[in-house]
């Protein structure tokens, strides 16, 4: 059986990839996807350690996370539409009318 630490490394890697994407991508949709990666990194942990601890809490939690991720995307897409409506662009670095 795979040592549990490996899962940690995996999830950390996925999390970092998502973070990297989030920091480097300027397209809002890519931003969203990166976030999804990070959420799923969490899911990896939940599932893996659910097995490790022998209780279902983790698996249930991962379902919650997925659901909420979906909801988040829904809201996110909506906001991105509004963004596009006002800025004619989905580049997250464009709106900077408010600063300082």
């Amino acid at each position: 059986m795979v040592p549990v630490e490996y899962y940690l490394v995996l999830s950390a890697a996925v999390f970092s990839i998502g973070l990297y994407g989030l920091l480097t991508r300027e397209n809002a949709l890519l931003f969203l996807m990166s976030v999804e990666l990070m959420l799923n990194a969490a899911n990896i942990n939940f599932v893996a350690f659910s097995l490790q601890w022998g209780n279902l809490t983790g698996q249930v939690m991962s379902l919650f996370v997925m659901g909420l991720a979906a909801a988040e995307v829904a809201v996110g897409i909506g906001i991105i539409l509004v963004l596009y409506r006002n800025f004619k662009d989905v580049d997250v670095t464009v709106p900077q009318s408010m600063r300082w």
Binding site: L19, L22, L23, E26, V92, T93, P95, Q96, S97, M98, R99, W100
Partner: protein
Amino acid sequence: MVGAFDYAPAIVLLPFLSFCLAVGVALSGRDLLPKGGALPGIAATAGSLLLSAWVFLTVSGGETYNETIYTWAAGGEATGSLSQPLELTFGLLLDPLSAMMLLIVSLVALLVHVFSLGYMNDEGETGLPRYYAGLGLFTASMLGFVVADNLLMAFMFFELVGLCSYLLIGFWFRQAGPPSAAKKAFLVTRFGDYFFLIGVVAVFATFGTAKFAGEGSFPRLAEAAIQGEATVNTFLGLAPTAWFTVVGLLVLGGVIGKSAQFPLHTWLPDAMEGPTPVSALIHAATMVAAGVYLVARMYGFYALSPTAMAVVALVGAFTALFAATMGLVKKEIKQVLAYSTISQYGYIMLGLGAGGYVAGTFHLLTHAFFKALLFLGAGSVIIAMHHNEDMWDMGGLKDRMPVTYYTFLAGSLALAGIVPFAGFWSKDEVLYEALVHGLGTTSGLGTALLVAYGMGLIAVLFTGFYTFRMVMLTFHGEPRTDTAREATEPGWNVKLPLVVLGILATTVGFVNMVPVKDLTGAEIDFLHKWLYGTEGAGWAETLGTSGYQYHHVLFADYGAGMAAANLPSYLVGLLSLALALFGAGSAYVLYGGADPDPYTDKLGVVKDVLYNNYYQDEYQVWLAEGVVLPLSKAADVFDQAVVDGVVNGVSSVSLFGGSRIKRIQDGIVTHYAAMLTLGLTALLVGFAIYGGWF
């Protein structure tokens, strides 16, 4: 039975009432009172005079009065270095000295009120209620000062007197000159009073009391302390004698200021900006006398310190000579009188400093009358000359205004010290005391007194000269202007005071003809007896303000340690008389002619120096405007730039910090994410290391 003493407070209160009355009138702004408030003033001063006379008689009956009548503020316990709680009180001390002074003050005040009718009312001045209010308040405060039974009360009335002087000098406030002169007078005297106030405080802190006379009065405590019979606080680690000297000199600061002694004399000539009657009352007869009166009042304290005595004598003598020289060259009649006033008070100081308690008091008495007379005479001349004071515009007035002339002449003879006029006897005695004590005393005090005597003697010469220069220029020769030709003598309200004072100036010297006594052996030194009382009995014992007491202290080795040489007083008197005559004669020779030349101009640079008062005002003005004002301006700049700069700096710095910090928020969301991540990572690393997680 109610005696004079029960009414004594009224002596002070009567003029105060007239003051309140006049103030009320002034506030109402309408002419409610006849003569613009003069009559209440006259009535009040007359009342005071009568009461003073009654008190005088009672005192001459051997009774005296030394009671506290009002407690101003009293502590409950002894704190600090004091051994008993402080009591600040008002009270009356009525002994021969104050009784005599009361008489002088109230009499002169009354006469000046009357004279003012001629000088102010008849000249149609405005603001008379204010004027009489000033006179009333002045009289009240001066009388209050005279009867004060402790140093603090004396100081208070001393200050009030200064206030009145300020108000009256500045009476013609619509012109530029008087307000400035008033300010100068108050400021210069205030400078002296600063030291006086320290002295008062020091006396309280030292003795816990400031009573002049009686048991537990501070001179007695001081005497006891020096003899080691009592313990008092001394400060700054000084021994009693030294500390008492310091205190005495501090109080002397006030004296020098008020009595216009060098170097604080500069205000008095300027004070002549005020109405002439005011000059007569305040700046000749009474207020200026307050200073020297204070010395006489606490003479028992000064007598303990040879140093203090020497300083008093030297300051006096130097001032006498110094002022006399300046009087030689003045053009305005009132200026001459002003400097003669300074000079004469110098003599009084000399007398007191030289151990001549009686002599000094005596000269104070005579001078009050003849100087008041001279000022009023000058006033009458000024009326006649339509307020032109330049003596070179006068001349030949003696035929136009005989009453003024003869009274003025009497005053001048008194001032010059020509026998038998009042001034002769008193000034002669002053010089005599200085000489005998100077010769007798072996310590440094002796030498000091001899020096002082020398200066005083020279001053006699100058006094004779400037006095008669003034008389000649004013009354003799041909009139030099039309105003002088048309001059006419004012009315009765001017003449009456002149005559009264003229008689006094001629005769008052007879109360203490010491030389005659020495010649004839007749016991006619009444003033001497009056001030000495009977040794070891009556008030002389209980109050300890008698000449005997002072004489005792002066000659005791723990005191000033004086000794008297044996000299016949008349010889000394002859000498000074000769000098006075010589001075007067030379003035007569020089200016007696029909159309005298300004000989003093021949003195050249010396004349300039004298005419400019040795540039005393210049350096004092420079001190004020050249040093103090720039200093304050600099301080102001410093305050604004540095002290306030720091305050504003703090706020600007924090605002700048804010304006920088907020730049982090640059509006680009990816940067936010980046910084967020960085922050989190930093925390992670930090705590991982701190907590040693891995």
